[in-house]
């Protein structure tokens, strides 16, 4: 058998498709899924930004009214920085999505960049958002509440450890394997290049 015969076998499916397609049901399903994914991504990012900005406004106002609570100004400033960071991150992500070309290599690079962005954001949030807020909350409770100090700082440490563990777990179990698979795929494309050079 030669290649032309293989090609004839292949082309035979063009005369009569292998499947009959339920067109209307497919369109309905696609529309529903597209709506729900877009809504989810938008809702997640925007709600994160709004929460950070809301806390950044409410806490300092509260501290100003009470005339006390410098830690609230500190937490407010951190939330403002986190909100700006999340907003800039969203803008960058959207800009980067446009920058990659639409070849399969381009799509792989884009997916890799998205995963790296997500991983970096998770770690940054842990150190620049969770930790300072917990520390400031710990200081605030120590100064202004009747709770015993070991309980306050014990709680702060537990929450810190759980946040760190959760973040690392997500990175190790989800992001890193995805990244590895994409790199393997990129290497396969690269392998094609190196076979000839």
């Amino acid at each position: 058998m030669n290649y032309e015969e293989l090609k004839c076998v292949w082309d035979s499916q063009n005369e009569e498709p292998v499947f009959a397609l339920n067109h209307q049901a497919l369109l309905k399903t696609v529309e529903r899924q597209a709506d729900s994914i877009a809504r989810y991504v938008k809702l997640f990012e925007i709600s994160m930004i709004l929460v950070a900005f809301a806390v950044a406004v409410i806490l300092p106002i509260d501290a100003w009214r009470e005339g006390d609570g410098s830690h609230q100004y500190f937490i407010g400033a951190i939330c403002l920085a986190a909100g700006v960071y999340a907003w800039l991150g969203r803008q960058n992500r959207r800009r980067r999505e446009i920058e990659f070309d639409e070849s399969i290599r381009g799509v792989i690079e884009k997916s890799l960049a998205q995963i790296e962005y997500h991983e970096k954001r998770q770690i940054m949030y842990l150190w620049l958002f969770h930790l300072p807020i917990l520390l400031a909350a710990g200081v605030g409770l120590t100064l202004y509440s009747n709770t015993r100090i070991p309980w306050i700082w014990g709680g702060v440490i537990v929450v810190c450890v759980v946040s760190y563990w959760g973040t690392q777990r997500d990175i190790k179990r989800n992001l890193r394997p995805q990244k590895r698979n994409l790199k393997v795929l990129r290497e396969k494309l690269g392998g094609i290049e190196s076979q000839i050079t």
Binding site: M1, S12, F19, A20, A25, T29, I104, L185, E193, Q195
Partner: protein
């Protein structure tokens, strides 16, 4: 400018009407049972829908559809390898695909089986090669050079012909 939803729907409808055979080929090359066929078909249709606002007409419709379909199929395969049971419940939706008698062709089934044994990248190249795409178009879709496409294609052709000869002489 933002695309109207009705236009997006019209374009997807046209693409599915005119190029469904192309998508079926990708579906058959990357999935191996009827549930997976439906799941992958839905995924490709969804990615095509999302790609419509980005389509600027710089390449042919078929090239674009192939590109999106192949990329969706590769991403779907990776997800399936990782979470084989983590998929939408196909039983809960109306069935989208139904096999036609043509799908019983033994030689075509054999060809799809051989394609399924190739790695993801070679599978893409094989589909594009069998559908008569030029080296330039294949290179553009995959993001590699034309020379490299040529080397790989020659190997795939030789491999398929040898395999076929081995099967028929048995």
């Amino acid at each position: 400018m933002r695309m109207e939803r009705t236009d997006q729907k019209r374009v997807l409808n046209e693409w599915l009407n005119e190029h469904k055979s192309l998508i079926f080929k990708v579906v058959l090359a990357y999935s191996n049972n009827s549930h997976d066929h439906e799941d992958l078909f839905q995924e490709i249709a969804l990615q095509l829908w999302k790609s419509i606002p980005k389509f600027r007409g710089k390449c042919a419709d078929t090239t674009w559809i192939y590109r999106v379909s192949l990329n969706s199929a590769m991403a779907w395969s990776r997800k399936e390898k990782k979470h084989p049971t983590d998929r939408r419940s196909i039983d809960s939706v109306e069935h989208l695909l139904k096999h036609t008698p043509k799908s019983q062709d033994e030689r075509l089934t054999w060809l799809y089986e051989r394609i399924a044994q190739l790695n993801e990248i070679d599978r893409s190249l094989t589909l594009l090669m069998l559908d008569g795409y030029s080296y330039r178009e294949m290179a553009e879709i995959l993001g590699i050079s034309e020379n490299n496409v040529g080397v790989k294609i020659n190997r795939i052709k030789k491999h398929l012909i040898t395999e076929r000869e081995r099967t028929t002489t048995r």
